[in-house]
Assembly symmetry: C2
Homo-oligomer: 193 residues x 2
């Protein structure tokens, strides 16, 4: 079976519908259609997000043979020496926002950085990697607004230049600031050609 | 070049001299000589230590072509839903024992489990995996005795059946309790044949 598609298409390998919706909101204006696929792919341990994403995308492509993107994100808190770093997903699943805020009790330096690395591969030449980051602060309590209500550490991360945490923003607002949006925009600029 | 060795020999791929010394203390009485090699091998992200160790040992063997062991360990704290789990090394490097104790402030349920998975591969048939675990409690403060003084979370982990934390024990005492010793003993029983 062969598909004929107008414009470009890419598949985002993720189990996270929130990430997928953010990606779609960025890519649509570029005329890039994005599909969500759930593939269990290899994920390596590394302090480098781009290394994790690049290793993963090759394996993912070998399982689906589609032009595919994987994303790896991390949250690096200065006062905690980079914790939770690339293991943000496991840390979220276990101690969550409450644990993070407990670690930050009586800590004045609230600076933190969200980073995202997107790797793309379609089986030709080498995987391409695009990175984005946003600097901000860890809030003093969880905040959930009328926005997208967020996922992961969104309720405690307030980017520089906003009075809202990510969870208080709509997808469009969050995409003006977010690490993931910034990486996806770089990808789109390259992929639309 | 060919070596002739009396008895059995195995190489332990680790960068941690404390782990190596523990392994040597267990394996020597079995007549198994153990060498330390430092190989940077693939480490995957997974909630399963045996999956991490098994994936890693194949890659390690392909880099060194020696009969080789890799070990992966994790600390699973009940009240923290299994945190820090398989990412104990990164968590230790960032928030350390002080961070762990802060997360456990005002927590009554101190139960925790140390787990170890050892994978062995010599290029023949499939990798073998051996597991060990020890149950205990998270202490209320860091303790360093006149023992091995410990590494990682040893200063805050007190196994069931002892009044000492791991860091207060000699290597021989720790090996009577520890997850790693238990996994290495299983390996030794199998390997000495």
């Amino acid at each position: 079976m062969e598909f004929k598609l107008k414009g470009k298409v890419v598949f985002f390998a993720t189990h996270n519908i929130h990430k997928f919706n953010e990606a779609r909101s960025i890519l649509s204006p570029y005329g890039i259609a994005v599909g969500m696929i759930k593939v269990k792919a290899l994920e390596i341990q590394s302090d480098s997000l781009s290394e994790i994403a690049t290793a993963s995308v090759t394996d993912t492509f070998n399982r689906c043979h589609l032009p595919v993107i994987v994303e790896d994100a991390g949250l690096f808190i200065d006062a905690l020496k980079g914790f939770p770093g690339p293991y943000a997903a496991y840390v979220y699943k276990t101690i969550g926002n409450k644990g993070l805020l407990k670690l930050m009790e009586n800590v004045n330096d609230r600076k933190a950085t969200f980073q995202s690395a997107i790797a793309f591969y379609n089986g030709q030449s080498a995987p391409m990697c695009f990175e984005g980051e946003v600097t901000g602060e860890i809030a003093f309590e969880e905040r959930l607004g009328s926005g997208n209500s967020g996922f992961g550490f969104d309720p405690v991360f307030q980017p520089v230049g906003s009075f809202k945490v990510f969870a208080e923003m709509t997808i469009e607002e969050k995409n003006r600031f977010s690490h993931r949006a910034s990486a996806f925009r770089k990808f789109a600029e390259w992929y639309k050609r």
